[in-house]
């Protein structure tokens, strides 16, 4: 557990180098591969995508989210292949005029993606880590 609080003079440095004209909120979600899956320690996850449908579906979801929530910008990135535990396999960035629609759209998008978009994952077993799970 870590907490850090900073008050600083003037603007904060850009975190992501991405935004949209008129945006008041830019939210970035990073999905990180966790070291434990279903109680087993794993080395990572192996993602398989159905190309190009996965990309088309992500684009359709982004377009629907943009219309429904009145967003100003969306970027989606998703890994295929092996992603080690602790690394990022999915990133969704949403820019909107205000915070509420960005957070609502983020929740909606991720739910829909997990339900619909043709991407599959399977664990990459941790061959050399047979120690107890902390």
């Amino acid at each position: 557990m870590s907490i850090q609080v900073v008050l600083c003079d003037g603007a904060l440095a850009p975190a992501v180098g991405w935004g949209a004209e008129g945006a008041g909120a830019v939210v970035c979600f990073d999905g990180i591969v966790r070291p434990i899956e279903d109680g087993r320690r794993i080395a990572g996850l192996i993602y398989q995508t159905y190309d190009p449908m996965a990309e088309l579906d992500l684009r359709r979801l982004a377009e629907e989210a943009t219309r429904s929530f009145g967003l100003l910008g969306v970027t989606v990135e998703h890994s295929r292949g092996t992603v080690a535990a602790g690394e990022c396999s999915f990133r969704l960035r949403i820019a909107s005029a205000h915070r509420k629609e960005a957070l609502a759209a983020m929740d909606w998008f991720i739910d829909r993606m997990k339900q619909d978009v043709p991407i599959w994952k399977r664990p990459a077993p941790a061959e050399n880590h047979r120690g107890p799970i902390p």
Partner: protein
């Protein structure tokens, strides 16, 4: 007519391959429903998993009555787990 169907994830693991063939009668009107029913009959290893399956034709999910033509790309896109 023999049609190839792309499979992924748990479907591919169940049959050990990334595609399966489905044989359809030549005088049949081939809809998504017919493809799925034929798959269930012809691929016993997939039968249980196909309860959660959705057919995609040319990268779009389709309804049961959508017609399938020779040359269409077919894929099973259920049981996804991205993110």
């Amino acid at each position: 007519m023999i049609h190839q169907v792309l499979i992924f994830g748990p479907y591919a693991e169940a049959v050990g391959e990334g595609r399966v063939d489905v044989t359809l009668l030549d005088d049949q009107t081939v809809t998504a429903r017919v493809v799925m029913e034929s798959l269930r009959e012809q691929q016993p290893a997939l039968r249980l998993l196909l309860a959660h399956a959705i057919l995609a034709v040319n990268c779009r999910r389709v309804g049961d009555e959508t017609l399938v033509n020779a040359g269409d790309e077919l894929a099973i896109v259920g049981l996804v787990s991205g993110g």
